[in-house]
Amino acid sequence: MVIANTAFFAGLYAMLALGLHVSWREAGVISLAHAAFFGAGAYAASATLMSFAADQHTVGFLPFVVSLLAAMFVPGIVAALSGLLLLRVRGDYFVMLTLGMAEMARNLLASTEFLGGNLGLRGIPAVAWGDLSLSAGGGATAVCLVLLTFVYLITQRLVSSRVGLAFRLVRDDELLATITGHDAFLMRWRGFLFGAMVAGLAGGLVAPYYGYIDPNFFGINEAIFLLACVALAPVSHPLVTALAAASLLVLTFAVAWLPLGPEVVGAGRQLVIGLALILVTALKPGGFAVGPFLGRT
């Protein structure tokens, strides 16, 4: 059971990392709002499932698919609109703006009563069809891994295609990209959008898992964790990023397996994340050799 749970989250965060990978490592858009899109997707999916459920407690395959579509659509719209505004600035400035936006989103979700307010959204119907159940357990893990494979294949194709080339060109040398006819702003916007939709998809998976979602989960800590997942990848390749994310996730889960008190676990995990970030920058400062706001290296 512990293994299935860990595998589910490892797969989930690998998926999230792939989305951020395209946004950051490919298109050069470092977004701390990724966690907010994750949350928005979770809420959208939950609302969809609840509207299908009426009085039952379980919904089937078709409502689940619709909820996944909603989970991608809502963050997609938000990213599309906010991206138009935010992508006009770059560098650390953009990072802070996305951070502000993420905090704002979290605060909005925690304050909105009909979405459950600060206690979170409860009563999300379970999803099950045939023998498969998406509540916490092996079935959910299997579905997660299937979706992960799907996302990975798409990401891999994107990265190795001409679109991926265009992303990287815009990221590395915007002047050259513009001269050769690329719309730099549009490319970054697309990268941002892709990341947001993948994050939303992950949110759609997490909604039926526990049956409730807590808005405070999708805040700055989560955003930094996602950043760490992608930052820890020593090579800018989707597979490496996915593996790095999964490894970091397992490492933070391992903190919970140690014989420490439950109050300490949360801080312990944060400490692991912080130390991982510190180590990776101390030991390999050239490790992030690509990014729009580095000087000519």
Binding site: D92, G274, L275, I278, A282
Partner: protein, 295 residues
């Protein structure tokens, strides 16, 4: 009318806190072009240090403030020496991530050491002098904080504009390579900027902590607002940071008091985002944070 006045004065007090932290952000961002993410946590760590000094060692507030400055300076000295300095000038992304890592780790250490619940210093201090100004209750702590902010701002202005170190700061901020070729040492200047910023935060932290409650998460929201203040006030300009910090404090107080605290943070952030997008160079046209610097 009294309500507005009360909100205004609360805002002034809150804003002084933001101003003090913003001064540190402003200093570092000017020379290094990296958001000093760890600054908020340095403040929080100093505040907890002050809390420990006052409640466990029974030190007076002023003693805690001085020792807080020393603590913060030492802390940032170690972090800068061991980590930030290792990251070369072209690696601003790595530096940002290093800052984030330090911030997360510090926050975790504070949480492990002191727990997540709020703690308060007030009970351990001798009660402050209370008085009334235009019918609004105030106490000496709030006035001290405002006075500290003003004094720090003046001191920093003098340092930046009238000292040789200030000249080095401005030179490195403007063009690192040219400054280096003229004999300024960028690494020493940068280290100095970190130290000064941390000393300011560390000095004010116990005082600020006496006015609010302490929680390990306080560094985050404070850091974000102070960063906005430093940008709005113009990077590298102490006076601007101070004015912007106080303005943000007043705006937050008014919004919270008039519209209730439920959506306060959301409205506040929305207003801030709009302000940042509209005035990226700040109200006093400091350095442009949007520009790419090839340093």
């Amino acid at each position: 009318m009294t309500l507005y006045l009360e909100l205004l004065l609360i805002g002034l007090s809150l804003g002084s806190l933001y101003a003090v932290v913003a001064l540190g952000y402003s200093m570092v961002y000017g020379v290094v072009r990296v958001i000093n993410f760890s600054h908020g946590e340095v403040y929080a760590a100093s505040a907890y240090f002050g809390y420990w000094l006052i409640t466990d060692l029974d030190l007076p507030l002023i003693g805690a403030m001085v020792l807080g400055a020393v603590f913060a300076t030492l802390l940032i000295f170690c972090v800068e020496r061991l980590l930030f300095r290792r990251i070369g000038p072209g690696q601003r992304l790595a530096l940002l991530i290093a800052h984030i890592g330090v911030s997360v780790a510090l926050r975790a250490v504070l949480s492990l050491a002191f727990g997540e619940q709020f703690v308060s210093i007030r009970s351990s201090l001798s009660p402050p002098v209370r008085f009334e100004l235009f019918g609004v209750p105030l106490d000496s702590l709030q006035v001290s904080l405002a006075a500290t902010a003003v004094l720090m701002c003046v001191a920093l202005w003098v340092v930046v504009h009238r000292s040789s170190f200030g000249r080095a700061l401005r030179a490195v901020a403007e063009d690192r390579e040219a400054a280096e070729s003229r004999g300024f040492s960028p690494s020493t200047t940068i280290a100095g900027a970190y130290l000064i910023g941390a000393a300011c935060a560390g000095f004010a932290a116990p005082l600020g902590a006496a006015l609010t409650e302490l929680t390990p998460q306080m560094g985050l929201s404070l850091g974000l607002k102070a960063f906005v203040a430093s940008v709005l006030g113009g990077i590298g300009k102490p006076v601007g940071a101070m004015i912007a910090g106080i303005s943000i404090g007043i705006v937050e107080s008014l919004v919270g008091g008039l519209w209730g605290s439920a959506y306060r943070e959301s409205i506040f952030f929305a207003v801030l985002l709009i302000a940042l997008l509209a005035f990226p160079r700040g109200f006093t046209s400091g350095l442009d944070p949007r520009a790419e610097y090839a340093k």
